[in-house]
């Protein structure tokens, strides 16, 4: 799947996006996998209250949401538009 990072999440991880092969069945499992990869991921996801998630460009509220059929997962801080 494609992972997308925005704003300071992008800066902490050091990438705007990447392809990542994962067997995670939920968002929470995917985050655990990423945190174990490297410190920069662990740091980026250390405070999940500051992270928002979109699956295929739709915001989700619950980190237990299934990743089945999802091709793009985006992680970013709370939005500051307007």
């Amino acid at each position: 799947m494609r992972l997308m990072y925005f704003a300071w999440v992008r800066e902490r991880i050091g990438l705007p996006k990447e392809e990542f092969a994962s067997d995670a069945s939920t968002v929470l499992e995917l985050i655990s996998e990423l945190r174990q990869r490297e410190d920069r991921y662990d740091l980026a996801f250390s405070d999940m209250s500051a992270i928002r998630v979109a699956l295929d460009q739709e915001l989700i509220e619950d980190l237990n949401t299934s990743l089945e059929g999802v091709s793009e997962v985006a992680f970013f801080p709370p939005m500051t538009g307007g």
Partner: protein, 147 residues
């Protein structure tokens, strides 16, 4: 419905004039325009707005459609810029046309509240000596609860 996500500047007055013209059954036009504010110490060099191409347009369209379902609206326009903006530059505008003023005002406020906290934009402020990501305000999140 007219939704534009762009890095180019826009001329608020021209777009507002065009939007407000030729709606013989719309008695009320409301516009909101967001302008880059300088810092309290007037040292903001520029602001940089990042967005999530694709999702941004879809999210705005979703909220505009929700507004059209909730209120009696003739037309809706949203323009939101990304990229580098300087103090005094216009970041974005919303315009609503409705038969009556209450619908036009409510729909514009609803759209603004959702654009603030639910459209995927992030603002970074750059001064001579530091770079700061603007933090989301709890009152902006709270504002959503009234809808």
């Amino acid at each position: 419905m007219d939704i534009r996500v762009q890095d180019a500047p826009f001329t608020f007055g021209e777009i507002a004039q065009e939007f407000a013209s030729g709606h013989a059954h719309m008695g009320a036009i409301v516009t909101f325009t967001g302008v880059v504010r300088d810092s309290d110490t007037d040292d903001l060099d520029y602001m940089e707005i990042e967005h999530y191409p694709g999702m941004t347009e879809k999210a705005i369209e979703t909220y505009a459609n929700q507004a059209k379902e909730r209120w009696s609206l003739g037309d809706v326009l949203v323009i939101h810029r990304y990229g580098v903006l300087r103090p005094g530059d216009m970041i974005m505008m919303v315009a609503t046309a409705a038969p009556h003023r209450v619908d036009a005002f409510q729909a514009a406020e609803f759209l603004m509240d959702y654009l603030k906290s639910r459209a995927p934009f992030w603002k970074k402020e750059v001064t001579a000596d530091k770079t700061t990501w603007v933090e989301a305000k709890s009152e902006d999140e709270d504002a959503l609860s009234r809808w």
